[in-house]
């Protein structure tokens, strides 16, 4: 049964990939799961070549030997996966049934541009990369949403702060 539900989600994701306007309509209709409270703001006072940067994605990226995101809970999986900065992209995979990640499976940089960021550090455009980057899955609703805002997201923020990160780039699916 769970397999059938996953198949349904995967099929829907492929359908949405073929018709992007449908995806946007779905996203608009499904809105309201998140509300716009006050907008936090931190001024960036350093040039990028002096900044320490971390990557956070909601594209369902994780190490092959980490537990995959739970695709059986219809409310999603609000947990996160820490990914060391020197990880080879071949050691990573994507667990996320709610979008078509066929292209990202061929080149993870299109959702998790770790190799591109390493290039920019080598070229001197970015100061350094954080010790760890973080993978979430999107499509979080209901009780999983409270878990995300109440626990997982603040925990990742705390870890990034402890790692003296100046800038975070966030990529969706």
């Amino acid at each position: 049964m769970a397999d059938l539900t996953r198949f349904k989600h995967q099929l829907l994701a492929r359908f949405i990939a073929a018709f992007p306007a449908l995806g946007r309509r779905w996203a608009t209709a499904a809105g309201g799961w998140e509300s716009a409270a006050a907008i936090p703001w931190t001024a960036l006072t350093k040039p990028l070549h002096q900044c320490r940067l971390a990557l956070v994605t909601t594209a369902g990226v994780h190490l092959r030997d980490q537990p995959p995101f739970d695709m059986t809970d219809p409310e999603g999986d609000a947990t996160f996966r820490a990914i060391a900065t020197d990880t080879a992209l071949d050691d990573l995979t994507i667990t996320h049934d709610y979008y078509d990640h066929g292209d990202a499976d061929r080149d993870l940089n299109i959702v998790f541009p770790l190799e591109r960021l390493r290039d920019l550090v080598a070229e001197g455009t970015i100061g350094s990369l954080a010790e760890f980057h973080y993978g979430f899955m999107g499509h979080i609703i209901g009780t999983q949403l409270s878990r995300l805002t109440g626990a997982s997201a603040p925990e990742v923020a705390r870890r990034l702060r402890a790692d003296a990160v100046d800038v975070v780039l966030l990529t969706p699916a």
Binding site: W41, P47, V111
Partner: protein, 100 residues
């Protein structure tokens, strides 16, 4: 994604997000966003397209310094699969507008 972004920004870290769903981003209101009208699953573009991926990163970092109003969404001009990207493109000046 915007909620995670806001949690990170609120502990004193500047953030820039890439969005593929403008309406959702406009509702969640993360501090800084660049939007691309591209298919889901492709925030940096196409597989193997290094010049394209770098162009998106440069545009995101440029917005990181250019945006001075919280909640701003910058609409990037790149059309899906209808642009030519230069591998020789140099990054813009990525420095604060007003030095500290």
């Amino acid at each position: 994604m915007g909620l995670v972004q806001k949690a990170i920004e609120s502990v004193g870290i500047a953030t820039i997000g890439i969005s593929l769903a403008r309406e959702v981003t406009a509702q969640v209101k993360p501090p800084r966003t660049v939007f691309l009208r591209w298919p889901f699953g492709h925030p940096l573009g196409e597989a193997g397209a290094v010049a394209q991926q770098r162009t998106v990163l440069f545009a995101a970092f440029e917005a990181l310094y250019a945006i001075d109003t919280p909640g701003t969404i910058v609409d990037l001009p790149f059309r899906w699969r209808r642009e030519v990207y230069s591998a020789a493109a140099k990054p813009p000046d990525l420095v604060p507008r007003i030095p500290s």
